[in-house]
Amino acid sequence: MPPRLAMSGVRHRYGATQALSGVDLEVRSGEVHALVGENGAGKSTLMKILSGALIPDAGSMQLDGEPYRPQTPADGRAAGVAMIYQELSLAPDLSVAENISLGVEPTRGPFVRRHELRERARAALAEIGRPELPLDLPAGRLSVAEQQLVEIARSVATGCRILVLDEPTSTLSQQDVERLFTLIRRLRERGLAIVYISHFLEEVKAICDRFTALRDGQTTGSGDAKSTPADRIVAMMVGRAVDDLYPRTPRTCGETVLSIRDLAGVAKPESATLDLRRGEVVGIAGIIGAGRTELLRALMGLDPVARGTVRVATLEGWQSPSARWRQGMGLVSEDRKREGLALELTIAENITLPKLSGLTPRGWVTPAAQDRASQPLVERLGIKCRSPRQPVGALSGGNQQKVAIARLLHADVDMLLLDEPTRGIDVGSKAEICRLINELAVGDSVAGRAPKAVLIVSSYLPELLGLCDRIAVMCRGRLGDARPVEAWSEHEIMLAATGAKTEPART
């Protein structure tokens, strides 16, 4: 029996860049196939070609042994290729039922047959195992996880043969991830071919049957996802062994720079107590929606505080973001596109934004002075760009994140609040950012850099366990005690985060 999808020798060139230079991919029906690779390796280009959004320069594709040459995304959909992107594509004001049949509504003449529309939606939701989702609610009112399910239901309803999931878990909580995995297994048993794109090797090993690794637009290997060791897969992705993802140099704690007592925001957090000292990295774990981001925003002055105290050095009380920057606090947002960066503006402009004063003796802001101030940071963080005048939007996710962090270094803050600093970026940048966090916490007496205090919110437990000195877990708006990292294991953090258990076991 021929494989469900066979792509061979696919090449594509954008202008001067050879995005794909010979990719082979084979996906069988009834399997979950992982597509792994760093950002810029060509995964999205390959998927655009599969969906019909791009036409390859060379190479061939076959669906169930038949030649497949889509000219438009509509061709792709008609042939049964369904894409679920990270950014969901639902019409938020239309109902769930309308979304499921969007573009293929059952009609009689110019009229939509509403009854059949609802029947079809009900069948599709039953098929994905979630018949309880409300048919008439506007899709925008559902949670992100539920919206994702509606998209999958839409693909199922239109009878897809290949389902492509692009980083489907990046915005989901642990429980929703489990539910999604159950659904994926269910769809696999029904004979669907599923392409699963992810940065998380743990996920790949948990859900996928086989994998294909891409690097620099070429297939660098494929094999059985369960039996291939993770470090071999990483080596195929990055072309070198990533020896130590989470470096840890001995750190010495200094004075307390930030102290929070029973802090409550308007909705979340409900209660948070924490001390942060110079020269240490403290992690906050928890499931999405526990109130971790809200805690950081309240600290930074972006959200109001309802109760409790925040003390920075000796200054107490809520302060505006600009006052916080002056006090030496800086925040990297979890959402680079919406909040973290001004994408049209240049790298230099983004880096210097929190502190434009003092760039020139007279207080003018000149592009040359902004370049001068950002160039050392661009070099120190290894931001890959042609020049500091390049718009940030043109950079890869990892380099964008480095720009967001460089901004804190430009303002020379003492306290770094990092919200999901490595979400959705490639393995290489991830390692570099982790190394930088360690470097900042340790300080550098030769270069005259004082140790800094770092507070990290992350949903990726190995990272927290690898980087932090202490970890506190937030559950339903309440922040637990910060305990030394040795006292925690992934399992215990998950128990505390889901509210199954509040205290870690003594070791």
Partner: protein, 395 residues
């Protein structure tokens, strides 16, 4: 035209900025080739510049607003209101009698009228800004205070008692608004659409529905061709190159370009337009910047209003209709993006000049007004299409 991606970033960004200027040069050369005898003359250049000045000055403010991601639809109405106000003040001062004897030249009256007109515009700008950042209550407080004061004065109260009364009422309402502590940010489109109607109405009410004819003052010479002494060489005497209004336009353009490019205030406007959340994250007082921004833009529109008054020499409440669209067109032709974060003064000035060059040139080659309007419309769409193409090439 797409700049070659291999060129260094700096040269490419320069080419990108010069795009509208090159278009201007192209159009000018086209008309010059068609009517070599009457188009590229010094007198005609002067009149093109003169025709650009009013929209041009207003477009400087419009560009600031558009860069911040907002829009100002009240420009035309505000210009009318200012021109009526200036005319009324001048008429009042003249009929007020003997003071003009002390100042026979009329410079004092002219300056006072201009300052009052521009000041009123600034006040309107502050109101717009206050509403945009969600403090409608403050504007209401101010209006309530003024209204009570005015009614008290009309019903016979001495102005020395009416003014404090107005201030107390306004302050009380203002304080009450502060206690509510809730801001309802409105989109600039809605706020200025409201102002578009309200200010036009105010202008008509003030002028009693007809044009206000003030006595002649030196204000009228702002927009007249300078009469140079015939024997003198013009090169070394810039005051005779073109009207004072054109000089005001060019000087303000340089000033605002500098503010936008080289000051914190300017860079903050770009940051807010590009991503307001990021600006807030980076500690920019977004509300404060917006308030200042709308006030500045309205001050510039006020100056444009004074120039408009000087151009037509009457206070006409129906003048300046749809100038707001001219302002938006100038900014957009000049490469500004209505979604914010992008735009330059150089581009806007080129855009404004491009539109008046087309109007002037079409007249010179004998096209009728309706054809000019079609051509202008086509140019707007073509300019933005070209701009998008250029950015796709660079992206």
């Amino acid at each position: 035209m797409p700049a070659d991606p291999r060129l260094p970033t700096r040269i490419r960004s320069l080419l990108d900025q010069l795009g509208p200027l090159l278009a201007l040069l192209g159009v000018w050369s086209l008309f010059a080739a068609l009517r070599w005898d009457i188009f590229p003359t010094w007198e005609n250049t002067q009149s093109i510049l003169l025709q650009t000045a009013v929209i041009g000055v207003a477009a400087l403010g419009g560009t600031m607003v558009i860069i911040s991601g907002g829009i100002d639809l009240s420009v035309g109405s505000l210009i009318a209101l200012v021109s009526v106000t200036v005319a009324l003040v001048l008429r009042g001062l003249a009929s007020g009698g003997d003071s003009s004897a002390a100042d026979a030249s009329g410079y004092g009256d002219a300056a006072l009228a201009a300052v009052i007109g521009v000041g009123l515009a600034g006040l309107c700008g502050l109101s717009i800004g206050t509403m945009v950042i969600g403090r409608v209550g403050r504007v209401a407080a101010f209006i309530a205070g003024s209204l009570v004061g005015y009614i008290a004065w009309r019903s016979g109260l001495d102005y020395r008692a009416a003014l404090p009364l107005a201030a107390v009422i306004a302050a009380a309402a203002w304080w009450g608004e502060g206690k509510l502590n809730s801001s309802i940010p409105l989109s600039p489109f809605i706020v200025t659409l409201g102002m578009w109607g309200a200010l036009r109405g105010a202008a008509k009410g003030l002028a009693d529905n007809s044009a206000v004819y003030p006595p002649a003052t030196p204000l009228n010479s702002l927009m007249r061709f300078p009469s140079a002494p015939i024997e003198a060489s013009l090169i070394l005497r810039p005051q005779y190159w073109w009207s004072p209004g054109v000089w005001i336009f060019l000087a303000l353009a340089c000033f605002i370009a500098g503010v936008l490019r080289y000051t914190q205030f300017g860079r903050h406007i770009y940051a807010i337009g590009s991503n307001e959340q990021t600006a807030r994250l980076c500690g920019i007082h977004v509300e404060r910047v917006k308030l200042k921004l709308y006030a500045c833009a309205a001050l510039l529109t006020g100056i444009a209003g004074v120039l408009q008054f000087s151009f037509v020499e009457v206070g006409d409440p129906t003048t300046g209709a749809s100038y707001e669209l001219g302002v938006i067109a100038a900014a957009v032709i000049g490469g500004a993006s209505l979604s914010g974060g992008v735009g330059t003064i150089l581009g806007t000035v080129a855009g404004a000049l491009l539109m008046s060059t087309i109007n002037n040139g079409c007249t010179k080659i004998g096209l009728e007004v309706w054809m000019q309007e079609i051509v202008t419309g086509a140019i707007i769409v073509a300019a933005v299409t070209l701009d998008k193409l250029r950015h796709r090439g660079a992206g």
